[in-house]
Symmetry: C2
Amino acid sequence: MQLPSKVKLVDVGPRDGLQNEKGAVPAEVKIGLVHRLQDAGLTEIEVTSFVSPKWVPQMADAVEVMAGIQRKPGVRYSVLTPNMKGFEAALPSKPDEIVVFGAASEAFSQKNINCSIDESIERFRPVVEAARKHGITVRGAISCAVGCPYEGEVAPERVGHVARLMKDIGVQHIGVADTIGVGTPRKVQAAMEAALKHYDIDAISGHFHDTYGQALGNTLASLEMGIWQYDTSSAGLGGCPYAKGATGNVATEDVVYMLHGMGIQTGIDLDKLVDAGKYISDFLQRKPNSRASTAILNKRAG
Amino acid sequence: MQLPSKVKLVDVGPRDGLQNEKGAVPAEVKIGLVHRLQDAGLTEIEVTSFVSPKWVPQMADAVEVMAGIQRKPGVRYSVLTPNMKGFEAALPSKPDEIVVFGAASEAFSQKNINCSIDESIERFRPVVEAARKHGITVRGAISCAVGCPYEGEVAPERVGHVARLMKDIGVQHIGVADTIGVGTPRKVQAAMEAALKHYDIDAISGHFHDTYGQALGNTLASLEMGIWQYDTSSAGLGGCPYAKGATGNVATEDVVYMLHGMGIQTGIDLDKLVDAGKYISDFLQRKPNSRASTAILNKRAG
């Protein structure tokens, strides 16, 4: 196995995770989570989303959350800005990175963001331009990169197509996302190969959901290709709104456990990370959705 | 990736799974599970254990369960026989295969079977001899092959040592078992490499627990070495008696989902397998401990 010696994890729990939670989480608790994640050693955190509170009430406190964070040197804070209105709202909060959300599936694009893939790229164009003018990095998420709840399997060429369009408008980094968690190692590798035709390996991350329990296998398969950046969610926060009761993002704890066990550095303190996940899970009145966290907490309890 | 095109799964749910369940399961329900597993396409099932009912009351109905199974041609039925007394009790039930249980950790051997590793091998010697005289295949399980609840990490050499001892007494097949689920891909590969020094690749299987969520990654890492036989447990039945609340064996459903997604044949019908897991989970009054099963059942419910 040819593997990276270091991996960077972006914890998307505060945004991708909490956005998909039913219960309301006060800004103060979100800020508490971000603080615990950076204390645990995370160097990038996807904090919030600047979207219409009418559509996503969970993120209505975006300004408040960004203002409340005591920033730690060396940590990057990213936010979602799906359009110019969102970008303009986000700008005073000084994000280090913004994220635009595209899809590899036409049907998902239509249902999720109400426009075609090509239209979504046109909508992102001015956002990317403005962000880069302000020195803000732009990441493009490619959702449904292996499967779609409406179309079924998604061909790697579709991922390549969106990657090329994102490259054209100046997106600097792309995330290949198995939004509904249906991917398995070979399919994920095919999607990554398609992305690699347009982006350098240092500009690609993997984003896996554990819906069918496949996320760690898919992470390993991507590591073997040299992919060294992944989105994960503390305590496995989040679900998939398109698959009832489905497990959401892979838990940061489970990925860190695997990486450390393989001798791959992350800079993350697993015990502190488990505490961060327990903090938000306690608030949500449930157990962390992470097997590593469950095992570690059980062991602590004796 | 160089991968096997076919994989054989041994469902250990009725034995390894139910042995670790607290509630009593009637023989009739165990038989019902075995029937559903063979209908789903499993070609080997670890049915029960011939042990003292004083120590393992869950398996006190071993004779009744074996007698109640309507055997399907092409399916192999294996049972645990830790000593001659167990073997003699098992013989009239005509198992196709018997399993003897060793450990790679001295402390685990002492605590789990009350003797040293070397003593356990001497205890198995007459069992292996008798089984082979009767044309019954002998499988040797090597528990704690990567980690031990008492000793911590277990060196690959310890696995090699036990494999050699098992080879010496005539054990035909060995299972490299991460009993407490602490393994990660590289460590598992090191344990497999140690086993491969003494056994042919066709005589080795992997047995992973999902305690820390690592089982599918470890399965993928083993597949990449060409290992094509695995023990799995329908509905993720079982726990680990040494780690409170810990997840047990990897769910057969999750492994099948990964293998089929990778184009690897198993001969198993995933939908029927999900039904089998739901059958026993319904009896135990809980949800299947399998992410693939959860996702599939949610999808069916709409």
